[in-house]
Each structure stands twice: as C-alpha cells, then as structure tokens.
C-alpha cells in the first residue's frame, strides 16, 4: 500500500529530527453497521514500528479510534547515516513496509 514518508535527507550528528508517516488504510472500526443492519467487521492497523539501522526507535499500538489513513509524527536523534524502516501490521494479516535514507554529517 502506498505510504508517504517524510524524513530529512541530511542532518547534523546529534540533531533531533522529525519523522512523519502517512499510510493509506480504511481503519474500519468494527462498530459501524450497513444500511441493512449488518455489522461491518473490524479492519485496522494494530501496530506500527520504525527501525533506524535495525534498532527499534519508535513503536505504536493503534486502536479503532485512530483516523483512517493513519498519520504519525515522532522524533529521533540523528546518530549515523543509514536507513529508516517502517512497518505497519494489522487485521486480516495486513502488512506493509516502507523505508527512507538519511545522510548524517
């Protein structure tokens, strides 16, 4: 699935940088009914993880109260050049990944 990742391409060592992620997902709550009264089954992303050169730096547990197309913004210290890996997982075996690289001077 499509994801939008915003990570600065370059940073100074020790800088605190903001990482913003947006992924497309319906985040069906499991509390809605169709017009004929059937419950629409839950289909949400339950977990998000960000790894920086293999080390987990941020993790989130998501619930149906997170809006559709989950947006997350968080911070980290730029320590070394390398790669950020993002992973979303959820109901019905949903899994999606994305990555971004950074140059640290």
């Amino acid at each position: 699935m499509a994801a939008l990742i915003n990570v600065p391409a370059k940073a100074k060592r020790g800088d605190v940088i903001e990482i913003r992620t947006l992924t497309s997902h319906i985040m069906e709550t499991g509390f809605r009914h169709t017009a004929d009264g059937k419950l629409v089954p839950r289909d949400i992303i339950t977990s998000f993880t960000c790894r920086y050169n293999g080390t987990e730096i941020f993790r989130a547990d998501l619930f149906p109260a997170i809006a559709a197309n989950p947006y997350l913004s968080f911070f980290t210290v730029a320590k070394e050049s390398g790669k950020f890996e993002f992973e979303w997982s959820g109901d019905n075996g949903y899994s999606s990944t994305a990555s971004a690289s950074i140059t640290v001077e």
Binding site: F31, R32, A35, I57, D61, F63, A65, A67
Partner: protein, 155 residues
Amino acid sequence: MPTTRRQFLSLAGGVTAAGTIPIVTLRPLEATPAMLNTAIRNVVGEAQIRTGRVKLDIPPLVENGNTVPMTVSVASPMTATDYVKSIHVFNEKNPQPNIGNFHLSPSSGRAQVSTRIRLADTQKVVAIARLSDDTFWQAMADVVVTLAACTEEMN
C-alpha cells in the same frame, strides 16, 4: 374477569421495559467513565497518576470527529537516565476507551507524538506518560464534537 385499563397499562409497560433492556445492553456503543478508568488502570496499575509535565494539544471544538489532529508532548530531557518510556491516550465515550500507545526511547530526543484520531462524541481525552522512573503524569482536554465518528451507517 375483564382486564381493567390499569392492569392492561401496567402489563404493557412491563413488556415494553423488558423488551428494551436487552437491546440497550447488547449495544454498549459508548465507553463509560468506568471503562476509561479500567483501561487506564490496565496500563498504570496501582501507581499514582500526577497531573503536569504532559501537554495535550487538541482543538477544543471539532466539526468532524472522523479526523481530529492531536499532539502529545512531555517535558523531559530525554537522556539515558531520565526519559519518557511511553505515552498512552484514552477517551471517555468512544465505543472503546483506548486510542493509542506510543513507545519511545532515550534516542527519541524529544518526547512528542502527533496523530489524527476519531471522536464519537463530545468528551474528555486523557494522555498519560510513563517516565523512566515509572512515575505517571497526565493531561486532560475536553473536546466538543459536532459531527460524531465511528458509529454512523455505511453507505
């Protein structure tokens, strides 16, 4: 013996009351303040929750509860010995009391998380931070919602 009007009404009233109660209990579509407390206690345990250090930025008046921007920040130096372990956000009246749990580390640099949430009603939102010394701090905000999320019919 013919049924009197009074007997008939009390009987009909009893049937109606008995008939409606199961429907109400089958659809608890609002988290109650008790559910909010339980959800908070599941995270916090018996620890005391203090007010302060946490800042919860959320609009006080929301037109559309389907997507409400929210930022939680915690005053913390974010060093190896004094940092924020996690941030937990709860609501009072959605069908479920949890909104999200966010796990940080000293390498986060700044204890701040933003996301967009759903609010099913005008209600209270609570953000709780767990610090590295296992103390808990909280902030609350009241949000007025004019168009609710979550429980509307699907088209």
